[in-house]
Structures are given as C-alpha cells and as structure tokens.
Symmetry: C2
DNA sequence: CTAGTTGCAAAGAGTTTGCAAGTTG
DNA sequence: CAACTTGCAAACTCTTTGCAACTAG
C-alpha cells in the first residue's frame, strides 16, 4: 500500500486534517495482517483498549473517509457488520472463504475465476468494476484448523 | 421447485399453519420470473397493492420461515435490504452480475467457477457449502440495456 | 483565527419481538 | 378449543447526523 506519508499528504491536499484519531486508525490497518478485516465496532474497541481517545462515531467516520479515498475497502460477509480491509496496491481481486462454523474468513485469489468473470461481464455487455466471491464452507473433520470445530465435535 | 401442494403439506407436518398470507407469499415467489428477488418491503408492497391484508412484520416473518424451510434463499447484494429468491430444484450455484448504475441484478452460472471454488475449498481442507459471487459492473456505452445509463449519459 | 473534526446523544433505516386479538386444523 | 399467527407498536442493532466544543494548520 502507499506509504503513510503519502496518504497523510493526500489528506491535507484534499482539505482534510490529520487528527490523532485518524493517524491511529491508519496505523491499525497498516499493521493488520493481510487478509484481516475490522468493523467499526472492532476498530473502536481496539483503540479504546490502547489509550487512544476515540468515539464510535469517529470510528465510523474514519472508516468511511478512508474508504472514500480508496485506502480501505468495504467487504460484507458478516451479515450485520460492515467490515473494512486495507487496499494493497499490487492486488488482484481476491475472494473470501468463510467458515460457517467459526466465521473465520480466509482470502484467496484465482486467475481462473477472474478471467471467467471478465468474460461473463463482457458477454452481458458490461464492464467489470469489482468482483467479490464468498465461498461458505466448513472445515473437514480430519483437519480441524478451525477453533470452534474442535469444541462442537463431540 | 417443489409443487405448492407438497410445500403446504410440509408446512402442516412441521406444525405450521397455512394462512392466507403465507399462501400469497408462496404464490408470489412461484410466479416471480427466474432470477428476480424481493425484499421484505417489496413483498409487502406487492401484497398491499393486491388486496391481500398483510403487515410488514408478517412479510418479514414469512420470508424467514420459508427460508428456514429451504424454499427461499437469502441473497445480499443490495447492501441495506436483504433479498430473497426462490430456490429452484435443478439448480447449480449461480451468481449475480450487479449493475452499479441501476442496481439491476442478472443471474448467471459457471461450471468453471464452481469447479475452481470446489478445488480451492478442498485445498484449504474445507468442504464447500455455498458459493455466491457478486460481479459489479457498468454496462458498456454502446449497448445500453440499462435504463439509468440512458438518463445519465449526456 | 477558521475550517475541519470530535464526542455526545438523538435520529434513522432495516429488522425483530412481546402481546393481545384473531385463525387454523 | 388449543396452538399457531397476525397486526401493532415498541424494541433492537447498526449506522448516520446535528450541534456545540475543540483543534490542526
């Protein structure tokens, strides 16, 4: 992703201000392991936990702002919470495998799917803008790398 | 999809009752062109328009009930409204191409995508349960079969 | 300084639920 | 009739917003 300094400059250029809250929000996302996502609530509680004074409203506002600047992307697989992830520059569209047992979401990419999707959009006379696939699954009993699975397996 | 009579029988078997409201809801979905979806609000206003006395709450409740029986499926591409579609029996997982200009959703299937998804789930040691792909797109200027596009095109 | 930002609490949108009255089987 | 459903309105959840106090540049 773009260096933080560049992002901060971009903020100012657009007439926005670099507040401590925004700085921390950016930090959190830049340090988030690739493939992880945060909701406004989750972001809020992380920030609360680590001294940073922030309100839930500001958490929501920062996410919206950063998403509108193309720094974050809204992804929606947890039904009721919108989640946000960092947009990384090298990136090709990626998809999510969501464990219906524990809710864990893993990312993956696929050229085959991408190519097929482009072709399909074309066939409908549409131009593809974004692609999101959600693959709901349960982990197999033998290889239980899903924490919840171990609990429920009797 | 399964014959209405069978569905009604199934209702009774499970201790549910066949109320006029439920009967109409089922009718509406059975007569809906393949690939169309309804939200609770939309269903409610269709039913209101055509004499059937129904409340919004019952509209929500019927959708939930029918979804829990596997008659309807929840699909979520319009951000804020949950939509429901009829589950048709012959069906393979299908996907949605969503026009970001007018919101129109077209359905499509793809063996290639299905096969790829199965393989990927397997690679993660997961068993695929459901697959939903959302392909966001705009229609191409030359072939504007999207109503809104014509308006906005200056 | 002054325009942008924050926190708070109130307002909104979509959905669910408690309850008394009404229906189905 | 008894159990299930309905309509209504109130409650809930997630998110947005108005406003006065605050702050970055």
């Amino acid at each position: 992703m773009k260096p933080k300094e560049q992002l901060f400059l971009e903020l100012r250029t657009k007439g926005f201000r670099l507040t401590p809250q925004r700085e921390r929000v950016v930090d959190i996302f830049y340090n988030l392991p690739e493939g992880e996502h945060l909701s406004a609530e989750a972001l809020y509680s992380i920030l609360k936990r680590e001294t940073t004074d922030i309100s839930l409203a500001t958490s929501y506002r920062s996410l919206k702002l950063l998403a509108s600047m193309g720094v974050l992307r809204e992804v929606d697989f947890s039904e009721d919470h919108k989640q946000y992830e960092l947009v990384r520059d090298e990136e090709t569209p990626h998809h999510h495998l969501i464990c219906i047992t524990c809710g864990l979401a893993k990312e993956f990419e696929s050229d085959i799917i991408l190519k097929e999707a482009l072709g399909i959009a074309n066939g409908f006379n549409f131009e593809m803008v974004d692609l999101q696939m959600k693959l709901y699954a349960t982990c197999l009993p033998e290889k239980a790398d899903c924490p919840k699975r171990l609990e429920t397996a009797s």
